[in-house]
Each structure stands twice: as C-alpha cells, then as structure tokens.
Symmetry: C3
Subunit: 171 residues, 3 copies
C-alpha cells in the first residue's frame, strides 16, 4: 500500500497515461456487445507484425441487434454519433475476444469511418467522433487518437447506420 | 515418382495446406483475364516490406471488357457476386504478372470491397463473398481469408459493378 | 559552380531522380495552403514504423476555404481534378508541417481517392489524377506513383468535392 501510494505521488502525470485500457473500460462502465460473428467470408481481425487489421464493424448492441437507418433521414446527428460509438464498442468486443485483453493494444493507428448518409449530409466528422471519443477515453489522448477518414456511403450492409474499419498497433 | 508418393502418404494433412496457389489455380481451372493496365496515374501493385498493396481493381473479363451496372438495379445479387469473383480474378492476374507467381503471396491481409449499389441495397457482404471465396479457394482457409469491409458506393469508375483493393503478405 | 555542372554532366539520369521533394516544390512554384487543423477527434498524420498514415484531407485553399460541390453536377471533370490537386497540396502542407520537411518522405505507398459524385459519374480516375500527377511531379515517377483506388461517395464532410487519404514511406 505504501509503495503504491509512493508510486502515485512520485510518478505524477506519468501515472495518468499508465492507466490500462481494460481498467479504463471498467472505470467508464462500458457495456460491450458480444463480439460480432463474421457476416461473410472474412476474419473479424487479422494480425501481421505488430499491426491488427480490424474488419468493418457495425453498431452491434448488447441484445445483438444493429442500429440501422440513414443518417440525415432516419437518424439525426446525435443518433448517428451514438451509432458510431456503438460501432466502437463492437470493435472493442472483437479486440477483447480475439486478443484476450485490450491491454495488448498499444494505440490506434487509423480508422475509416463510413456513414450511411443522404447525399445532402455534411457532418460525417461529428458522427464518427462517437467512435473516436470512445477510443480516446479508453487509450487516452496520446494513444487513442489516430489518423482518420470520415465519409458518406450510398448504402451499407443490413442498412446499418455506420461501418468502421480500423488498424491498431499491438504492444 | 516413388518419393513423391511417399511424400504424399507421409505428410498427410500437412500436404493439404502445402498446396501452392499456382497449383490450386490450375486445379480450379481458373481463367484469369489479362493483367489490367492502370486506368490513371497509379501502379497496380506496390510492395513495401513484406506487404503488397494492390490498387482498386474492377471486374475485368478475359475479353478485356468490364462487368458494369449498379447492383440492386441493373444487376441482381448473383450477378454482383459474379462481378466480385471476376474482380478477384483480375487481382490474381495482377499478382501473377507483377510478382512472377502467386506462390510468392503468403496470405491475404485485408480487402476493401466496394459495391456500386442502390441506396436500398443491403447485401454487400454476400456480393463481396464472390472475391473472398475465390481467395479462400486459392490460398486455403487459413491463409486466404483476411480482414474485410464491404460497402456501397454512389458510383464507380466506368460504372463497374464492383471495385476491390487489397493487401497481401508476401512469403 | 564547376563541381555542380560536373555533377550534372556526370550523374546524368541519376541526377533527375535525386532532386529532393522540397526543391521540386519550389521549382514547381507550388503554393501550399496552411496545414489543415483536424475537423474532429483525429490526428492529421500518424507515424508507425517507416509508414506515415495521413488522414482524409479535403481541397483546402490558401485562403482557408474549401472547394465544395458534387462532381458531375456542381463541378465538371476539370474542376473536380483541380479539387483533387488542391487536396494533394493540403496533404503536402500536412506532411511539411508535421515532418518538418517533405524530404523526409521517401515515396508514396497508396492513396484512396474519394470523389463526391453523382450516381451517373464514371470518371473518378481522371479526377483523382489531379492529386496523383502532383505527387508524381514532387517525388518523381519512380517514387511518386503508388497504389490507388478512386471511387464515388454519396456525400463528404462539409460537401467537399474530394477527400483523399494516403500512406507514405518515410526515408
């Protein structure tokens, strides 16, 4: 106990960044959906070297249903952002299931955020922030914020509101 | 002859996974189109380290024409899946042409499958399976199935039905 | 002066490829926009190993406005190509700002060129050439032309005409 307290006092700022993703998930009381099964002939995640390529995920909820609809028509910005956050939670579930622990993920390299949107919709970055803010909260600002594109798709599988693929660096 | 037979008998299951992609192509009687020429200022394939980045390919046929049309309107699911398979064959042609042999490719890392589809279309994974099943057949289930996203585009070059880009790991 | 001339005479073709990107930018009299600020929770560029992942960029002009509109409706092919070139200039600005110098970039690995286009548009490769020709001019044909996909999106952030993400190899 004494040494732990000493460590906290001594390490200061360093301690903040040393919080592990799994501990952060508990702290944030995140409820992950079940890790999604592939919807076709692909693997949810594939590791090459120190990189994990995560397949396109959708907004899978704990009850195994998906958030569907077109942002700008069926869903407003807030609902779209919530769908992006839910997609991020599904990605966390895949990482946890296939790697054993989120602590094996060192940082976010890149996400491609694809919004099922009307032709007139223009706020894709604000939608995809739903996922990006989640990752920032789980890995911290230094490791949780990677490169990103946020764009609008004509249609998505099963009419899901958002699909996100990602690359992570492993520890 | 004797030693080859002995090898087959002895190696057992191992022999199954040891079948090389080029031999599998012959076994599957695949007819590859000519390796596509770039349609703009890009290289069909670029190698960095042990990864080969393959540019977006379309469903090029042996007679050098392309399968065109929008899936969900001009093409049904089966025709779209066939277009994705043809796109996979074009990717195989590029790999063979630029690497000398498919045997230099160890495994599939990731594909991005983009379907020229109506706003109402929802079966992108089933379409892109046309390519994924081909790669699984050529490299086997362990090495031929990578990460994947399957999504719907507003439009594609020359109105092709499918465009697929890919990353492979070299042996 | 004498030694420079001697070098030029002696090295011949080799001299052409040895021109550094920063020098080429000056030679081409390129006017870069200010390096764009992130439009959401992401980093404009992230480095892992010897690769730089560049986030989706838009056609940012030196006056900090963006080229907007749908190609095939609001913008014609020439205007769309100009938007892709401007997007390439914005990417150069990001590379210069975050790496200190374009000379740290060895070559282009891959770009994903996304055109805000009508459903009927078919000339995405010619649009994205606006960026690809710029990169070819800056890094030369051997290092400036990478793998590429060029596709049509339903919509893009702030209604920008083009969004491009890229991967570069660092020297």
């Amino acid at each position: 106990m004494t040494s732990a307290l000493a460590c906290t006092t001594f390490a200061g700022v360093q301690t903040l960044t040393a919080i592990k993703p799994e501990a952060r998930c508990q702290e944030l009381k995140l409820e992950l959906p079940p890790a999604p099964k592939p919807a076709g002939v692909y693997q949810p995640i594939l590791i090459v070297g120190n990189l994990a390529y995560v397949s396109g995920h959708g907004p899978l909820k704990p009850d195994r249903t998906l958030i569907t609809g077109r942002v700008g028509a069926d869903l407003d910005l807030a609902a779209g952002k919530q769908a992006a956050r839910q997609t991020g939670l599904a990605i966390l579930a895949t990482l946890q299931e296939h790697l054993g622990s989120l602590d094996r993920v060192k940082r976010v390299i890149k996400i491609l955020g694809m919004v099922n949107s009307t032709a007139e919709f223009t706020e894709h970055p604000a939608v995809i922030n739903g996922c990006s803010e989640l990752f920032r909260d789980v890995w911290g600002a230094a490791d949780g914020i990677g490169a990103r594109s946020a764009v609008g798709m004509a249609s998505l599988p099963a009419n899901i509101a958002v699909e996100i693929e990602a690359i992570f660096e492993l520890a």
